[in-house]
């Protein structure tokens, strides 16, 4: 093996990326100035704001890779990457359309039937149609192939029964994209017999129960399906190919900028505070004169910069039609650990300022509270880091 084989080559972003970036920054600046959003940590999970999603869509920045014939902009995946990282770095409330934009849109483009595309893609691009993801179950967490929700053949469709859990935003979403079992496993071949269905949530037989997080926020749910009829038109891709379809999405899910930037607002604010204080006190005890503070900031900045280069390399490979599974898993492992490391640096460097995390607080105090309480989720969601490291190791050593 040679250097570079772990990672796809670094490719340039498309021409026009900087102009696009500048437009998004202008939009975000105007939104902030008008008080239409308050930057927050982990806002891609908890910042549900449907009017923000619609305004973003008015600029063509939701579902922007969807072709024009389906109401989208026909922009490239890398252009979407630029927009998304700007939104995340600003701590903008993108949760409402997050799953539609990142997952369901691309999934339907790849596997969806023509009627399914016509039905959902235009609404996704308008920022008005929201989805939840139905992967985990009470007895199927890291062991995803253990899902027990079943689809039983019925006249013209499938009858679905079972329970999904940790479904972010299900209580506000229009539909849920579920991985479920439509045929029994073939002996020890557990990946056989799984399928993907799009299930409308506003119908009899669907019960959505809130799971309140320790922050007091409600974004997770338990969704119970009790003999819910799902017509054949709502099948995504091919019955029985669910495992392959889901795992092909995972490289997108694991390597995106949301795996590095969940606490960026905290870092940005910290650096602003330190810079301001070093200015106040002349030579400054926290600024340029102090290698300790600057060094601690530099440590996470260097890592963030390198993580971003990794994420960009994977994004470039995905855009070129490659499936860099190991590199994508690596991005999530190093990136999500960095998200937590930023919190520790912020705590260390604000200790002398007597800033303590306060959920009711503004500025650093509030951001610290958000970040600390959300942090355990960083290395769990999207496949725990232990599972991902297992994937990496098997890819390296056992292929």
């Amino acid at each position: 093996m040679r250097d570079g084989t772990l990672l796809p080559p670094v490719r340039p972003l498309p021409a026009g990326a900087a102009e696009l970036r500048s437009q998004v920054r202008g939009f975000l600046s105007a939104e902030r100035t008008a008080g239409r959003f308050v930057p927050a940590c982990d806002a891609w999970l908890s910042g549900w704001d449907e009017s923000f999603s619609r305004r973003l869509a008015d600029h063509g920045w939701v579902g922007m890779t969807i072709p024009r014939e389906y109401g989208g902009q026909g922009r490239s995946a890398l252009e979407r990457y630029v927009v998304v990282e700007e939104l995340l770095a600003a701590g903008a409330p993108v949760a409402a359309h997050w799953v539609s934009d990142r997952q369901v849109g691309p999934n339907l483009l790849r596997y969806g039937s023509e009627p399914l595309k016509r039905r959902y893609l235009p609404a996704i691009a308008q920022g008005t149609c929201y989805f939840a993801i139905g992967l985990s179950e009470p007895d199927a967490g890291s062991d995803l192939a253990a899902v027990r929700t079943t689809g039983t053949r019925a006249d013209g469709g499938w009858t679905v029964s079972g329970t999904k859990i940790w479904t972010s935003g299900a209580h506000r979403a229009h539909a849920l994209i579920a991985l479920l079992r439509t045929a029994p496993p073939d002996g020890r071949q557990r990946h056989v017999g799984l399928s993907q269905l799009l299930i409308e949530l506003d119908q009899p037989g669907v019960t959505i129960r809130p799971i309140i997080s320790m922050t007091g926020e409600h974004h997770f749910n338990e969704v119970v399906f009790d003999a819910v009829f799902v017509p054949d038109e709502q099948v995504v891709g091919t019955i029985g190919d669910g495992w392959a379809q889901v795992t092909s999405e995972l490289a997108y899910e694991r390597s995106g900028p949301e795996r590095l930037l969940s606490t960026f607002v905290l870092l940005d604010t910290l650096v602003g505070e330190l810079a301001a204080r070093s200015g106040d006190s002349g030579s400054g005890d926290l600024g340029s004169g102090d290698l300790g503070s600057a060094g601690a900031v530099g440590r996470v900045v260097a890592r963030l910069w390198a993580c971003r280069q990794m994420s960009l390399a994977v994004a470039g490979a995905l855009a070129a039609g490659e499936a860099p599974e190991i590199a994508a898993a690596l991005v999530k492992d190093v990136g999500t650990r960095l998200e937590s490391e930023i919190i520790e640096v912020a705590r260390m460097l604000t200790a002398t300022l007597r800033v303590e995390p306060d959920p009711e607080g503004s500025g650093m105090a509030g951001l610290l509270a958000q970040a600390i309480l959300h942090a355990p989720g960083f290395t769990l969601r999207g496949g725990t880091n232990e599972i991902l490291r297992g994937i990496v190791a098997r890819g390296l050593a056992l292929r």
Partner: protein, 424 residues
């Protein structure tokens, strides 16, 4: 694959094959125990023109771009090649950029202040004349721990009140001698009366510093990948409790952590190199110019404000080179990689007989050479604070206890001028 990709792949293979033939563990170890280098390997490299890839032909180089030089340096790091190959590549580029002829034989770069080689006893250039000039002032000044200084021609860079200078100092074998943990020569080089001193364009000394950091990082990238490869092979072969180590989940977890560090170093070095490639820089540069007044931060300063090519150019003083981030990441990752490699190899990896040490002793040395992570972290952190201040967002944050979170100057800097090119 494009024609350029194909050529690059061919060059890479050629270098790797040549190095693999020569850099057997026995020969690498012998070089460290003996003269400090492998003369026949050097001869083979010179004959193929590989030692001056990336340097302009009119200066005596082999032509080619930074990609070529970078690939060779990575391969040299992976092979633990006991020759000043990366050093010579960097020196050739430095001389070429300054428009000076490249002397024959092995070369090495030293910077007369700051990271790299600090001045030892003697006079700082500029305090009474330039080193070696005027028959005395500065004579006796020494550059400390110059890689392969005893046998390579040293290209020293520095600046004084009269601007930047380069000095070409013959390998005199004088001065104190030293070694790093891998047994590579790290020698004191004395400015003598026979040093040739040239006035060079402003920014040359900064460029030299960037080259040192970049090429050291490329060596680390190669060595880190090699440490991972050796470890992967070892855990597949070594059996305990009746199965290969690779089957144990705890081993897998550590292997993956190691791979993460290796990938970070690889991504960082690749990005820095790609940022300098005209093919990738072209459109990106246009993009930056197009950002115009709407840009919130220093990203609009200039195409390569933070890049290697922009180092030391007017306006670049505000920015910090992406190469600082690269060396910071390479140095901090090197220690993690070496530690996990040893842990997974067990006791056998700690022996003189085992080849792992040829790689890990280099990682432990190279992380401190040309800027340790502590030094690079501090430099990068100061630049981050400056970026925040530059937009005025910091002041807002201070008065409003961070009420204007998310509006700071960190992101435009991080995604823009730090590593302009790929990162636009």
């Amino acid at each position: 694959m494009t024609a350029a990709d194909g050529e690059r792949e061919l060059l890479r293979r050629t270098v790797e094959d040549l190095l693999a033939r020569h850099c057997t563990p026995a020969r690498v170890a012998a070089a460290a125990a003996g003269s400090g280098w492998d003369a026949s390997l050097w001869q083979a490299l010179e004959e193929t023109g590989l030692t001056l890839a990336g340097s302009p032909e009119e200066a005596g180089g082999s032509g080619g771009d930074l990609f070529a030089a970078a690939d060779i340096a990575v391969a040299a790091g992976a092979a633990a090649a006991p020759v000043p190959l990366a050093e010579t590549l960097a020196a050739g580029m430095l001389l070429g950029r300054a428009g000076l002829a490249i002397p024959s034989g092995p070369l090495t770069v030293a910077v007369a202040s700051g990271p790299g080689a600090a001045l030892g006893s003697g006079r700082v250039p500029g305090s009474g004349g330039r080193p070696g000039s005027g028959g005395g002032p500065g004579s006796g000044a020494g550059l400390r721990r110059v890689p392969y200084g005893r046998l390579a021609t040293t290209v020293a860079a520095g600046s004084d009140g009269d601007g930047d200078w380069l000095a070409v100092i013959a390998p005199a074998g004088r001065g104190g001698t030293g070694r790093n943990l891998a047994g590579e020569p790290r020698d004191e080089v004395i400015f003598g009366g026979d040093a040739e001193v040239y006035d060079v364009p402003a920014g040359t000394a900064d460029y030299a510093r960037c080259l040192l950091r970049l090429f050291r990082s490329l060596l680390i990238a190669g060595a880190a990948q090699r440490a991972l490869d050796l470890t992967v092979t070892y855990v597949q072969e070594r059996e305990q409790f009746g199965r290969p180590l690779a089957r144990f989940p705890t081993v897998q977890q550590e292997l993956a952590r190691m791979a993460g560090e290796v990938a970070l170093i690889s991504a960082a070095t690749q990005a820095a190199v790609a940022a300098e490639d005209p093919a990738t820089k072209g459109p990106a540069a246009e993009d930056l110019a197009a950002e115009g007044p709407a840009a919130e931060g220093p990203a609009a300063e200039g195409p390569a404000a933070g890049g290697l090519a922009g180092a030391g150019q007017p306006g670049a003083g505000e920015g910090v080179s992406a190469v600082v981030a690269v060396k910071a990441q390479a140095s901090s990752g090197a220690g993690v990689v070496a530690a996990i490699a040893h842990q997974l190899h067990g006791a056998i990896g700690t022996t003189e007989e085992h080849r792992l040490r040829l790689t890990t002793t280099r990682l432990w040395s190279w992380r401190d050479e040309d800027g340790s992570e502590a030094e690079c972290f501090a430099e990068l952190g100061r630049a981050a604070l400056a970026a925040a201040t530059a937009t005025g967002a910091g002041a807002e944050a201070g008065t409003g206890t961070g009420a204007r979170a998310g509006a700071g100057g960190l992101w435009p800097w991080l995604s823009g001028s730090l590593g302009a090119g790929t990162a636009v």
